[in-house]
Amino acid sequence: MIRLEPRPSPSRHAIWLAPLAAAAATVVLGFVLFSALHQDPWAALAAFFVEPVATRYGVGELLLKASPLMLIGTGLAIGYRANVWNIGAEGQLALGAIGAGGVALAFGDSGSPLVLPAMLAAGAICGLAWAAIPALLRTRFHANEILTSLMLVYVANLVLSWLVHGPWRDPEGYNFPQSRVFVDAALLPNLLADTRLNWGLPVALAVVVAAWVFVRASFLGFRMRVAGLAPGAANYAGISPTRTVWIGMLAGGACAGLAGANEAAGPIGQLLPSMSPGYGFAAIIVAFVGRLHPVGIVLASLLLSLLYLGGESAQIRLGLPSAVTGLFQGTLLLFLLAADVLVNFRLRFQARPTGRVPAVR
């Protein structure tokens, strides 16, 4: 019989091994799944995990898709560390795209060098404002931020849909639901020749570093961590739970909004009814798999980005639906949570249950 025995303190090894084990288990699941679908599993795994990044262009795509994931994951991690559960990043991303797109369309083809910075700022502010709604509802009305932030995802996507179907529709776009294509001044400059990689990556990395400094080196960041680890002690020490919620939500919202602006000003270059293939949800997985730690988040964003590319590649090479990406994403997180048991518990193998009297506390 196997028993779980609580560890006196969390295992430092297990904290880092669990994400690796989860990633490995996901690959094994892929092997089983591809075999079950009558594919040569090794060739399928190669098509999924290796071929997409075997070219210079592919590496560019990997980094391009990892940028919004690490950006949003970093913002969400600030909240998650303090037990503030913002799961509406997908909606905050849409609002960020709307903000950036609004600025780009307002500037028209003036070619002003201010367009791009204004777009990114507007994106971050719009995402932040959208996240302020659940923050206000939580702090003022005690409404559960998980549910309100998620409901706002649907609302945000409908706002975006209305804009591109209605007021912001390209008058020369043959009635397609899309905005005008942004002028060059409103697009992020390319970073790596022969790829689509743009300056969104350095922006994302800068935010990751800034967030790390905030969490590790600022007093406010310290108080946020205490609020997450020991809410009772935090309260006793005078750390305001209201402030914690606000900072946690707004950080996630601003990062998601900035990511939305980067998408609008980057690979997409206009507003479409959908600005993201679920980056806001995938970033939740990035935050967890990355252990809410900046280095981990960057690595996890590369892994999740690879899952996106693998899904596309599987569709082209193997004729499998690209929805397999979502399946792998969910599996990865479930495996991680399952593996996490070894952080706080150790396995004890016993021939049979002993008659030991449990310690009374």
Partner: protein, 306 residues
């Protein structure tokens, strides 16, 4: 009068998936477990029900399959959150993400398949009576099943020993454990029940309400069901009322369009989500009310040695 009766019938039909999912989640939460995976379980139940219906031509086989697949997915939650003691919020989220991905993946070949869904019962002589006919006798069989489920949940939770044990486990798992109840096993049972109910809600959508499969067809109903349990302050009768209220709101967009309201369709489509947010804020405003009614151990993992 006839028109009002028709509207009531439509409201009941629109609220029924929420009744199933929210009643299931209510039982789960009563036992102290927070499973945020309702949306995922509904979708998997919907796709499972649809595929089996398409293969067997029997919508009832589909309904059973929907319940089974919903329960199977909830078993994943139970293993990770109850046996392996993972954070319930994170596990529920993961389950929803997984369910969305899984249902999209398996359902891809069925997107434009046409099935013959469950039809409303037609009792000769009774269903054609004016007003009463459609109001009492003209519903889909699953609507009656949802009402039966409501009565059963209400009675079992309030009036039986089983209900008392479930509530005890939710209020104080330590005390329940100390007097010898298998806390984890009881929680497994409620989680599986919740999964089957969510699957049933999804099955209702895919084989009765709109007999077709579309990726993400639950459109957030799983999350609304979660909010409903909070609105209802964990009381089954209020879950029922809330579900029909939201069913009515969902209908409002179609009614408004039919009535020629000059509002972009997107704004009407926002109504259920905005209503959820507003009602959740109003109910949650009274923190004491929530604290008093929420199961005391809600969301906390239970391990006998910690």
């Amino acid at each position: 009068m006839e028109a009002l009766a028709h509207l009531l019938v439509l409201t009941l039909a629109a609220g029924t998936p929420l009744v199933f999912a929210a009643l299931g989640e209510l039982v789960v939460e009563k036992s102290g477990v927070l499973n945020l995976g309702v949306e995922g379980m509904m979708l998997v139940g919907a796709v499972g029900a649809f595929i089996v219906t398409a293969k067997t031509q029997s919508p009832w086989a589909g309904v059973v399959a929907g319940m089974a697949t919903g329960a199977l997915l909830s078993l994943v939650f139970a293993v990770v959150a109850l046996t392996l003691l993972a954070n319930q919020v994170a596990t529920g989220l993961a389950l929803s993400l997984f369910g969305v991905g899984l249902s999209a993946f398996v359902g891809l070949d069925y997107v434009s398949v046409v099935i013959k869904g469950l039809e409303p019962v037609a009792i000769p002589g009774l269903s054609t009576l004016p007003v009463i006919g459609s109001l009492v006798f003209g519903h889909n069989p699953l609507v009656y099943l949802s009402l039966a489920l409501f009565v059963a949940v209400q009675l079992v939770l309030d009036r039986t020993r089983t209900g008392l044990i479930v509530r005890a486990v939710g209020e104080s798992p330590k005390a329940a454990h100390a007097i010898g109840y298998p806390v984890i096993a009881i929680r497994y049972a409620t989680v599986l029940f919740g999964g089957a109910c969510a699957g049933l809600g999804g099955a209702y959508l895919a084989v009765a309400y709109t007999p077709l499969w579309v990726e993400g067809m639950t459109a957030g109903r799983g999350w609304i069901a979660l909010a409903l349990v909070v609105f209802a302050t964990w009381k089954p009768a209020r879950v029922l009322a809330g579900a029909y209220l939201f069913g009515g709101v969902t209908l409002a967009q179609f009614q408004a369009q039919a009535a020629g309201v000059e509002l972009p369709s997107q704004f009407l489509a926002m109504l259920p989500y905005l209503a959820t947010i507003v009602v959740l804020a109003i109910i949650s405003r009274d923190a004491a009310l929530i604290r008093l009614n929420a199961p005391a151990s809600l969301g906390r993992p239970f391990h006998p040695d910690t």
